[in-house]
């Protein structure tokens, strides 16, 4: 049973436009959410996170939105750049207050075209 779902395996966006990556979760115990970016032959790189007490967190070109009632979060990248082309993973952890285990989605491959 997949507790974190990324239903879009791939997404193609033109350079300069907005990229929106979506993630759904089923476990109500999750209260901390993260987005990681992964290039081939590298480990995941942390991008941005959000706690369940917030509904939005922004860091430069990256903004994460959390809708707790819908158990849905999204990552917005504005403007998209060719270097953003990578696989993006959504991850979630429960409210233990410590560096708890992460449950990942299956990833969305973003391609930013010129």
């Amino acid at each position: 049973d997949q507790q974190v779902k990324q239903n879009s395996p791939s997404l193609s966006v033109q350079e300069g436009r907005i990229s929106i990556l979506n993630c759904d979760y089923t476990n109500s115990m999750f209260d901390y959410f993260l987005w990681y970016k992964k290039y081939p032959a590298e480990g995941p790189t942390f991008l941005i996170s959000i706690s369940s007490i917030k509904d939005k967190n922004e860091d430069g070109r990256f903004t994460v939105f959390l809708n707790k009632s819908a158990k849905h979060l999204s990552l917005h990248i504005v403007p998209s750049q060719p270097g953003d082309s990578a696989v993006y993973f959504c991850a979630a952890s429960p409210g233990t207050g410590t560096a708890s285990k992460l449950t990942f989605g299956t990833g969305t491959r973003l391609q930013v075209t010129l």
């Binding site: 032959a41 480990g43 299956t106």
Partner: protein
């Protein structure tokens, strides 16, 4: 400031053999988590070590074991290798006492079982 390092980069083993993978956490971090990433999937949590003890474990058999040393580095051991153990093994480090602590990943070890 050195990030998370892992060795070796690649490894080829045959069924039934045993393997040891190594991880050095990011400077200042005291918690190490291990993940297995199969092709086309998100990383799956194996276990987490803190203060040289296994603190959390995912749904992996006892063939998977680990160790954490006083300098916080860690090893992942897999016995009686199966073809299905072929995957990218990722190590992530974090600081436990920081509360909601982000996990930072190493580049991974690509294990191929023939």
């Amino acid at each position: 400031d050195a990030g998370v390092t892992q060795s070796p980069t690649h490894l080829i083993k045959t069924r039934g053999q045993q393997v040891t993978l190594r991880c050095s956490p990011k400077s200042g971090h005291d918690t190490v988590s291990w993940y297995q990433q199969a092709l086309g999937q998100g990383p799956q949590f194996i276990f987490q070590y803190y203060e040289e003890e296994e603190r959390q474990r995912g749904n992996f058999p006892d063939r998977f074991s680990g160790h954490q040393f006083p300098n916080y580095s860690s090893e992942l051991n897999v016995n009686a290798l199966l073809l299905g153990d072929s995957a990218l093994y990722l190590c992530a480090s974090s600081l436990r006492l920081a509360g909601r602590s982000t996990q930072y990943f190493g580049p991974g070890t690509r294990l191929t079982v023939l």
